[in-house]
């Protein structure tokens, strides 16, 4: 590249460093004509975009139009100031994890997983828990030193906590896939508040996951860790055993 990147001043890159070029698509209650294009242009201008090009406008009928545009943003970010919390335990294979538990904990650990409250999407949590696993990583059920219970879909927080208490769980794994109207935040908050009220919060690890979950959000909600899209059983297993060993 012709110039070295200045990490304190970063903009989108179209074909020249920091040109700020972005593609935007949206619909609006405007006519699919010059006036609609102008409305779109003004909106984008307000958002700090420049060199705005409305490259497509189509009538969606019922008074709406679909717009595709390009523009250059004047916003920028300072990469040196970006801080994100991420799970930073080393990832071990299933065999390594089992060995780790044997050596450092010397007892089977108990994991309870569930897709809680209104959410019925089990594919994600199953990918983490089921024998079969996901993308060539076996699920926690296959770990010799893990005692894994998968409670399935739409499990009420109270039922999950009751089970956890009954089985003296080491870690609770919660999945939340649906995010409409921030329902995942509501559900996850409900669980953690109940756990606190019942004095269970500090007795076990609380871990959540789902396509719109990240570690940052999980911490913010009071969980020990969060795992997003593309997580594997190995990631979460390594985290659990490392944390338990350090306790």
């Amino acid at each position: 590249m012709s110039t070295k990147i200045d990490k304190t001043f970063i903009r989108p890159y179209g074909d020249t460093m920091n040109d700020g070029r972005m593609q935007i698509s949206f619909s609006m209650p405007v006519k699919a004509d010059e006036s609609g294009k102008e409305a779109a242009r003004q909106l984008l201008k307000q958002m700090g975009l420049d060199e705005i090009e409305i490259c497509y406008i189509a009538d969606l009928s019922e008074g709406f139009a679909h717009i595709v545009a390009y523009g250059n943003t004047s916003a920028f970010v300072d990469l040196t100031k970006i801080q994100v919390k991420t799970v930073d335990t080393d990832v071990m294979t299933m065999e390594e994890t089992d060995e780790f538990v044997e050596q450092h904990l010397g007892r089977k650990i108990t994991i309870i997983g569930a897709c809680i409250e209104s959410d019925a999407h089990t594919v994600g949590i199953d990918a983490i828990l089921n024998m079969k696993g996901y993308n060539h990583r076996y699920g926690l059920e296959r770990y010799k030193w893990f005692n894994t219970v998968n409670m399935g879909a739409q499990v009420l927080s109270e039922d999950l906590l009751a089970k956890a208490r009954e089985m003296n769980a080491d870690a609770i794994l919660v999945s939340q896939i649906v995010t409409q109207k921030n329902i995942h935040v509501k559900n996850l908050t409900r669980l953690i508040e109940m756990a606190e009220a019942e004095g269970l919060r500090d007795k076990m690890l609380f871990i959540c996951g789902g396509p719109r979950i990240n570690h940052d959000l999980a911490i913010e909600l009071g969980y020990d860790a969060g795992f997003g899209a593309g997580s594997y059983s190995t990631d979460v297993a390594s985290f659990i055993v490392t944390k338990l060993a350090n306790k």
């Binding site: 949206f26 619909s27 009928s61 709406f64 679909h66 209104s118 594919v123 649906v178 899209a229």
Partner: protein, 519 residues
């Protein structure tokens, strides 16, 4: 011509096992009824409305009769008896019950012929209304021309019926043939149908009769504007299957998602309850000329689409066989299938084509319902858009009947206005581009596509055979289906199943059977 070469005896054998499976349930289907079936009868008699707390009147009445151990005669008798006694209309009788002014089981037994007459008149009236709706649909199609093949099917799912209307109208003008109002999630599990227009839902809008009416009216209006009949669909599924079917029949819905086994497997609804409910709901759909659609896609969103392809085939054949028992004609069976193979798989297109062709081969008269890629769709909206193009291509090439358009934002949110328009544009472009392509090509009999289809059928046959041998309930109990274990007497709604008494009457079932020449 694109077609598979599959030995007919294999097809016959698969169908034979499916028939064996469903026909062994005739005793159940004839001797039992369910609370939903009775609520349906109430609705068909013309009873609607809800209590202050939202409990629908049909639920209130059925629950009351049940608590009096009077349900096994069937609600029709009690209502008709009350009508004869009071001289009120069915709705007035129901309102009186609701208001605590009337107790059905306390009313003296009226002369049987009079009761039967009232019952038959009301039945005939409703059947006439339903047939009128059917005729209306047919005359719209006659006037505006038949539905496109594949039809463009899009969903609206805002939760607010009025917002849904706006989006449905826009979609119709953009070229959609069929509008599906996706239900608020887990409506399957509600043992009642909510009442009235609704403006809040979760991931969808409640299926209510008023919502049906509002949307039907809007689509008829937009249809008149654009000279096209816009079909409407919803879900006759879950704990209220036949009630929703009845509402659809009354309000002229045109298609209904109506799977024989979905509730059992994917909603843990009691198997007997589900089978009874689907039996009656499908009769209603049949007499109303409503195209049913089955839900085989559900097998593939939870399991691997290649490994479990045979479960789709097996389910299709079972669905077909059940539908025949209810008098649904093959032209009205939208047998389900889905494009859910991992796009990273080598030759994924050939696999999909093979599976889609197998469905078409097995159900040549079916307006096959083809579900879009969803599970392997990621937040890469551009990638999603081209995978949807491949899906559209397979549909046009294999002559699928109803194309449930994939959304480029499948992994992000329920469809936005522009997403839907882009989906329609995608299908229109691809359908047109490959319009007659399949009529020009032939598939190698010894090639992968043909062999693959045959292999899937083979697997389905041995699966169906195993199920037929042990019986459907035992197979369900052992987790043969989708690896999910379901016991005959557990699951939601089992308490709503009851054995009919000797003098049980369901005048609608009797009448419809007659209409459809069943048994």
């Amino acid at each position: 011509m694109l077609h598979l070469t599959i030995p007919q005896d294999k097809i016959d054998s698969a169908r034979g096992f499916a028939k064996q499976i469903t026909h062994s349930l005739e005793e159940l289907l004839n001797s039992y009824s369910s609370v939903t079936i009775e609520r349906t009868v109430l609705r068909l008699l013309g009873i609607d409305g809800a209590l202050e707390d939202g409990t629908p009147i049909p639920n209130y009445i059925v629950d009351q009769l049940k608590s009096k151990n009077a349900l096994d005669k069937g609600v029709a008798y009690w209502i008709s008896n009350a009508i004869v006694y009071t001289g009120l209309s069915a709705q007035e009788v129901a309102n009186s019950v609701k208001d605590g002014k009337l107790e059905l089981t306390q009313i003296a037994q009226q002369p049987t012929t009079e009761v039967i007459k009232v019952m038959n008149d009301l039945t005939q009236k409703m059947i006439d209304h339903i047939k009128q709706q059917r005729a209306a649909r047919e005359s719209y199609f006659a006037k505006y021309g038949p539905r496109n093949t594949p039809s463009l099917y899009v969903i609206v799912a805002t939760g607010n019926i009025y917002e849904d209307v706006l989006q449905a109208k826009a979609a119709a003008k953009q070229g959609a043939d069929i509008i599906a109002v996706i239900r608020s999630t887990a409506q399957s599990l509600l043992d009642y149908v909510p009442y009235g227009a609704t403006t809040e839902g979760f991931g969808g809008t409640f299926a209510t009769q008023e919502n049906f009416r509002i949307m039907r009216k809007a689509l008829d209006e937009v249809g008149a504007e654009i000279n096209k009949y816009i079909s409407l669909t919803n879900y006759a599924s879950g704990l209220c299957m036949p009630e929703i079917a009845a509402m659809g029949a009354m309000e002229r819905l045109d298609l209904m998602l109506n799977d024989a086994m979905y509730g059992i497997l994917f909603r843990d609804i009691n198997p007997q309850r589900t089978l009874l409910d689907q039996y009656f709901s499908r009769m209603i759909n049949a007499v109303a000329g409503i195209e049913i659609q089955t839900g085989e896609d559900n097998y593939l969103t939870t399991s691997d689409a290649i490994e479990k392809a045979y479960t789709v085939t097996a389910s299709q054949l079972i669905n077909e066989s059940f539908a025949l028992l209810s008098g649904v004609s093959p032209e009205k069976m939208g047998i389900g299938h889905a494009f859910e193979i991992d796009p990273c798989i080598e030759n994924s297109f050939s696999y999909e084509l093979s599976h889609a062709l197998l469905t078409k081969t097995l159900f040549p008269h079916s307006p096959i319902k083809y579900m879009p890629p969803t599970k392997h769709v990621t937040g890469n909206i551009f990638e999603a858009y081209i995978i949807n193009a491949m899906f559209n291509m397979v549909a046009q090439m294999t002559g699928q009947g109803v194309q449930l358009l994939g959304m480029l934002t499948e992994a992000v949110h329920t469809p936005h206005l522009a997403d839907r328009a882009l989906a329609i544009d995608n299908a229109k472009y691809v359908f047109n581009a490959v319009k007659d392509f399949s009529s020009e090509i032939t598939i190698d009999k010894e090639g992968f596509i043909n062999k693959r289809a045959e292999a899937v059928l083979d697997e389905a046959i041995s699966f169906l055979k195993r199920v037929a041998e042990q019986g459907l309930f035992n197979a369900l109990e052992k987790g043969e289906f989708a690896n999910i274990k379901r016991a005959q007497t557990s699951g939601k709604g089992f308490e709503g199943v009851f054995r009919k008494s000797e003098d049980y009457i369901n005048p609608f079932m009797d009448k419809i059977k007659q209409e459809l020449n069943l048994d």
